[in-house]
Symmetry: D2
Subunit: 138 residues, 4 copies
């Protein structure tokens, strides 16, 4: 089980009042939870810089009527199948698809996969979103 510890933060009274207002607007119920999130965000950035195993989310928006785009994206995903955990496909409207590809692996390889899909003709928009395997994050 996780072992909780406690430490004190000293800061200016006015700064704390502003912080309380900010985290209230972001729906936090207490300061510890908000500060844990700030800490964890910085740790996830570090994971991506260090280059060991990360998780990520690649988002693609494309028009499936565009010739060949579905086949090419499928081929690319199979070439990188060892990185891909799963893919979710959404029919946004008659023409547009949004596809979410959840990946796990080294940042460099994940980026390579993301670039290949993004540069495919017919893909209108694509981003790679940093996430974490959660292992190094309590």
């Amino acid at each position: 089980m996780a072992e909780l510890v406690r430490f004190g933060v000293s800061l200016d009274k006015k700064l704390l009042e502003w912080f309380d207002r900010l985290i209230h607007s972001q729906n936090y119920s207490n300061r510890s939870e908000a500060i844990r999130d700030l800490i964890r965000e910085n740790l996830v950035k570090e994971e991506w810089i260090k280059g060991e195993e990360v998780a990520g989310v690649i988002t693609l928006v494309y028009n499936h009527h565009q010739r060949e785009v579905v086949n090419i994206l499928t081929d690319i995903q199979h070439d990188f199948h060892h990185l891909i955990i799963s893919t979710q496909h959404i029919h946004l409207d008659h023409d547009n698809c949004l596809e979410v590809v959840v990946v796990k692996g080294k940042p460099k390889e994940v980026e390579k996969l993301a670039y290949q899909m993004k540069s495919t003709r017919g893909v209108k928009y694509s981003t790679l979103n940093m996430a974490t395997t959660g292992k190094g994050l309590v």
Copy 2:
């Protein structure tokens, strides 16, 4: 059908050589495709600033053993069901889940949903990723 037009870009020869090298490393097969992507990225940013309908991807990493977190996240998602298109759940390991929630709606409402989930105790990491419905994007 989409109507293609063509326009000329004049630039320094050396700048073009660097650009060619860069887009090659990003797997683009031609300059037009790379430039279309640069243009479209700027248009998606504009969609989010304007505040009309956008699509987005909320990523959550959490430990499902954490008391109540699954129930709370489910409740929140039902409160915002009109924004949520679908949810994909991945079992990263014994403890960690990665959940991808695809949303469509006004940026302000989408952000509110994202904040509510992010601030939930037990959620280790969460991001809201801008995407597009593709409607305003050829």
Copy 3:
């Protein structure tokens, strides 16, 4: 004088160890200082969203041999003189200048000035960097 208060943060022991390692690598001497910085960064973002008075730094890199660029940039800066506190000019090499323009005003106006200079022919690179007047930040 600023009035210091103190509050407690509870978190997982391992998370704290990682945080300690991270802030050590970023040269912080104690956790309070690191956490105050995380808080203040979020408050500065808020200042820019709220749209009241902010400070900012516009950076320009340009080739002063490019015809007219110096005159045009000077004209623009005079048009917006009420926003500009001061300008610093650096001769990077025989051709290249780096200019730093410190501004104070409403975000919208500051952005307008930044766009005008950035779009000037001969300006190779330009960014607008969020900062703060410090008034709302203890």
Copy 4:
């Protein structure tokens, strides 16, 4: 002298109309200038990743009444004097100073300097802003 070349971009008519509207709102007088800027921004990011010589701008906001902060910042700047081109100091109000430090060097060293100043007690806000020496950028 720079040698100008020209290449053609083909894209959907509607996409071009949106692009024209966007760059007009950003004050560009023609498409080539807007596209050159998009290209150059990507090249500057690359310069920072590659790790060779870059230019940058460190912004600091601090209360000069805070004990010792001025002395410490001066000491740090002297320790890194080989990176620092010049410093500009602005008196924002009775208490607050904004200091802009223009630097040139390897990204790793520049970041080290930026972290040292940012973590100094009394510094309320600090950012490191990527720029370029302009050498590799026509």
